[in-house]
Each structure stands twice: as structure tokens, then as C-alpha cells.
Amino acid sequence: MQERIALTGNEAMALALKQINPDVVAAYPITPATEIVQLFSSYAANGMVKTEFVAVESEHSALSAVLGASAAGARALTATSSQGLAYMFEVLYIAASYRLPLVMPVVNRALSGPINIHGDHSDSMGVRDAGWIQIYAEDTQEAYDNLIQAVRIAEDPAVQLPVMVCIDGFIISHALENLEIMADEKVQEFVGPFTPRRPSLLDLDHPVTVGPLALFDYYMEIKRGQAEAMRKAKPVIKEVGQEYGRWSGRKYSFLEPYQLAEAEIAVVVLSSTAGTTRVVVDELRQQGIRAGLLKPRVYRPFPQQEIKAALGHLKAIAVLDRADSFDGFGGPLYKDIRAALYEVPDRPRIINYIFGLGGRDVGLDDIRSVYDDLAQVAAGEAPEFSIRYLGVREEAL
């Protein structure tokens, strides 16, 4: 039933999009996400999908167009990176508040300035509180699997929230890897037909206005509703991950631990860097060092309880952030993980590294140095510190 082929991250996402066969796709090109919609536009031109493809003039318009299509009762998608995501900022919040189940691949790329095309997480981290579900993929297989699951999560009647499916720019988007893909019909069966949760534009029997003014009278209830939907998304994400597992043999949840249960020290990191870290964990285990790894897959909603349960027993943790908060305190993932561990009575020591900004390479030696520091912090030989930068020429500042 499954076929094993080699695809880049972008090709895998484009294939998933083709199999999802949405009603409307609107997009504006941007490196490194361009290829996803470019490939998709050829599927549309060749009649391989039933999709209405619109080459709009900007990302602001791309997201506005899919928002309109979704409100009109269509399954609608776009994809972007970096500046494109930043340019969507206004509409991101609107889409979440309208409770529109949009799905959007985000190929993570550094934000300007300085202008840069390579991978880091500053783009999606910058909109982590826009009300979108955020799922991060480590490789092409996860990119493909996450995108298909995202449709089900977004469209679940209890959720009805937009979902970003993030992959590392170039490192995954342009890297060729083997993955297992499903037949078109199986994907169609899994995602099911699109049924708008509420009356959509234009249903004369159920007239609606999407996005009317709400001031101090109702604004807060609408925001509270978004928060509630995010809370309800958690069991849905879990169920969809399990069902996808039964269906494909690849089960998904919020977190992916590696050698964590027996570990004393661990790294927490999103996306492709988890692969590099796993190699170092194996090395350290060979040396008898009790090292582990936690790769969060879902960042919004934030899996606080699961993180507490996964990390609470450790002596020391290093959180690796591929984005900075520029607040002198630490990266976004670090602060969330640190807050999640607040309730643990004998909480682990926790340190933070900012790494890989603008595509700065992070290699095995960098990760080894993190575990070296961690071992010292765990032994009480080094202080717990909040923020350190990996692979930076401090002398060049």
C-alpha cells in the first residue's frame, strides 16, 4: 500500500498537497518555500487536482484569499517562508479568530535583517502566539505525514483552528530523503471531504457575517473561545496521531523522546537538529554517559503536562533555540520549557543556547559541547546560565 521513494522536503509537501486536493490555493513565491506551490501550480495546470490556483501579488493577499475561500466553505491552503510569513502577520490573527481551518506549510527561514535566505525559526517563532497550531517536522517523512494530519486537526469540529506545518529551510526543504508515501485514495480517505463547521458564505437559509466588529462587549469571549479551541486541540492532535499510526505504521504525538527515560542530562530541540543530536546521544551512551533528547513536535498548543512528565526527572537540561527573543533572558522554547518545569518539586537545572541563526551550521561538535556543559551543570561544577550562543565569533561583535 505504501510506496518508498526519494523526495525533497518541498516535493514531499507538494505531493501531500496534491493528494489532499484542496479547493483553493493562493500563493506568492518565496525562497525556500517557492517550490511547494510551483510544483502544485503544475499539478493544477495539468488537471491532476481540482484546485483553483491563484497566483496573487503578495503573501498578504495569499492568506487573505485563502481566508476568503475558507469562509466561503472551501478547503484552502497556501505556503510561505520568512518575510512572506511576516507579511501575513495581520491576516494570521484574523484567520485564527475567525476559526478557519486553514493549513499552511511554513519552510522556516531567517527573517530580515540582514536579509538572508537560510533556515532558522525566527519566522514561525515570531508568530507563535497568533493562535495557530504549530507542528515542526524533523525530516521529509514527517513533513509529509504532518501536513496530512494537519488537515484533520484543523478541520476537527472541536478545533477549527489554522495549522502551520514547519520544516527547516534548505536543510529539509531541499534535501533528498527516502520516505514512505500513501496512495492518493488513502490520503483522500484519511482527510475526508471538507465539511464547513458552520454555515458558510453564501447560504441563504443561514445568513452569516464573518468577522463583525466586537468591542468590549464580545471581543474577550471570542479570544477566550480561541484559547478553549487550542486546549481542545490537544486530545485531537493525539487521536489523529494515533489513527495516522494505525493507518501508516507511523504514530505521532506531541513529543518524541530519545533515550530519555534513563537519562540524567538532555537536550531539547525542534526540527532537523534533533537528528544531529541523536547521533551525539548515541556516542555518549557508548561512553556510559546518561544523555537523552527530547524533540517537541507540537509547539502550539504547548504540551506543558507532557513536557513536565518527560523532563521532570532529569538533573540538567539544555534547550536549543533557533530563534532569539532579544530580551537578554533566552529563546522562546527555553522560556516555555522552563515555565513548564516550575511545578516540578526537585526541578532540573536548565540552560539555554541560541544556535543556527541565518542558517549557521550546527554540527556534531557543537552538540557535543552542549552536552559537555550540561554534564558540568548537572554535577554542580558550572553555574546554571540562561543564555549562551553556539558557534558565534564573539570577538566580531
Partner: protein
């Protein structure tokens, strides 16, 4: 012996990253010549776009500022208002100016900002791999219009020079091409005039330059020049669309 042809002072003596046969380089040279001839290099500031000319600041011996994609006319507005005695120009592609930056160019022109805009129309988003732009010709094949631009779905190419010439404030708007020696001469005169308008009359000037993209058109440099002449010029006629009152 008399030296009759040399590299303009304002053009940096470096290799560019442009593809072989791409006419971005010719346009750079014409700008540098105009700036040299007007002797304003020491007070000229360029605003670079996002597009294939994103590295334009490396190719001129001038101060430059990089703008976000499409925002160059707004950035130039700010520079010019802060430093009114400087000569400020933007260099923008058709994606930058006629797609994502449509609002900025219309409003900078409409306010009559005293800036010079060099608008390089090569009918595609060159930098991102040759996707269909608002300027792509009907039927033209691109990476997002594999069977040619379908005007039912994507509309018709935007004629920026004509569109902006309906505004009252702009002083000079012209379209030129860099496909042949005579046309390059005319392009040079138009670009120089667009700088003169800023320097002498404190007005807004825009020159649309029809340019080639051999790489994404899938043509040799020579065939690209012919393609421009045979396909672009009939749709995008050359000439002045708006000239200052006194010379009308």
C-alpha cells in the same frame, strides 16, 4: 590617443552575479553613466530591491540601503524627506514594483516624491525561478504558467508606465528597452533625464526598462533580445508617457 569608452566612476569594478546575457548589467551601467555625467555621485543614495538586483549595492560606488520586497519607494521617500539635498533612486524589478509593491509605487508617485525610479521589467520573478508575474505576457510560459499565461485566470499584463502617467504629480514617465544599441542610447537619455528631473525640478520620475531574463525564459542571450523586441515591445510600447510641462 583619446580614451572614448571607460567604466563609469560610479560603477564598481567587480564581477556581478547576473546570469550571462542578462541585461540588468547594462541598466546598471546606464545609471552609473547618468550619475557621473550629472556629477552627483557624492550625494546619490540608491535603494536596492529584493529580486535579482538584491546585491545592486555591490555594483555601484554609491551609498545604498536595502528595502524589504516592494517597499523601496517608501524607503526612498523617507530618505529623501530626511535629506532633501541628496539624489535618491530606487532600482526595482517587476515583481518588486508591479506585484508586491504596487501600493508603494502608486502612492510615492501620487505624492510626487522627488525620487527617481528605475523599473526593470523582465516579465517574470527572476530571482525566485521565473514564476508568472503581473507583467507576464498573455500565453507566455513560466514555471507557474506551464501552458502559458491564461488571461481568464490571471488577467492581462500591467502597463506600469501608462498606469502611473494618469496621475497628476509625476513629472516624467517613460518606457525604454535595452535590446539594441539604438534603444540602449535612448534608454540612457531617459534615465539621465529621470535623474535631472529630480535634481533640477524636484519631481518624481520613473523609467520602465524592458529587460531580458535569458535563464528563466529558457533562451540564449541573443534570442532573448529578439524575444524582447518581438513580444514585449508590441505590448509595452516605448516612449515618453509623461513629460514636464515646459517641454510638452
Amino acid at each position: 590617443m583619446r580614451l572614448v569608452f571607460d567604466r563609469p566612476q560610479s560603477l564598481a569594478d567587480v564581477q556581478t552575479h547576473y546570469c550571462p546575457g542578462c541585461t540588468h548589467g547594462i541598466i546598471h551601467r546606464l545609471i552609473a553613466e547618468a550619475i557621473d555625467e550629472l556629477d552627483v555621485a557624492d550625494r546619490t543614495i540608491g535603494v536596492a530591491p529584493v529580486g535579482c538586483a538584491v546585491l545592486a549595492y555591490n555594483y555601484f560606488n554609491l551609498d545604498f540601503q536595502e528595502a524589504a520586497h516592494g517597499r523601496a519607494p517608501a524607503v526612498a521617500t523617507g530618505i529623501k524627506r530626511a535629506l532633501p539635498d541628496r539624489v535618491v533612486f530606487t532600482y526595482q524589478g517587476d515583481g518588486d514594483l508591479a506585484s508586491i509593491g504596487t501600493a508603494e509605487i502608486i502612492h510615492a508617485a501620487n505624492r510626487g516624491e522627488a525620487i527617481t525610479v528605475v523599473y526593470v521589467n523582465n516579465t517574470v520573478y527572476g530571482m525566485t525561478g521565473g514564476q508568472m508575474a503581473p507583467t507576464t505576457l498573455p500565453g507566455q510560459k513560466t514555471t507557474t504558467s506551464p501552458y502559458g499565461r491564461d488571461t481568464d485566470l490571471a488577467g492581462y499584463p500591467i502597463r506600469v508606465a501608462e498606469m502611473l502617467s494618469t496621475l497628476v504629480a509625476p513629472q516624467y514617465i517613460a518606457r525604454v528597452a535595452v535590446n539594441s544599441a539604438p534603444n540602449i542610447q535612448k534608454a540612457k537619455r531617459a534615465i539621465k533625464k529621470a535623474f535631472e528631473i529630480q535634481v533640477n525640478d524636484n519631481g518624481f520620475a520613473l523609467v520602465e526598462v524592458l529587460s531580458t531574463c535569458p535563464t528563466n525564459w529558457g533562451l540564449t542571450p541573443e534570442k532573448s533580445l529578439r524575444w524582447l523586441e518581438e513580444n514585449m515591445i508590441p505590448y509595452y510600447p516605448l516612449g515618453d508617457f509623461k513629460v514636464p510641462k515646459e517641454v510638452e
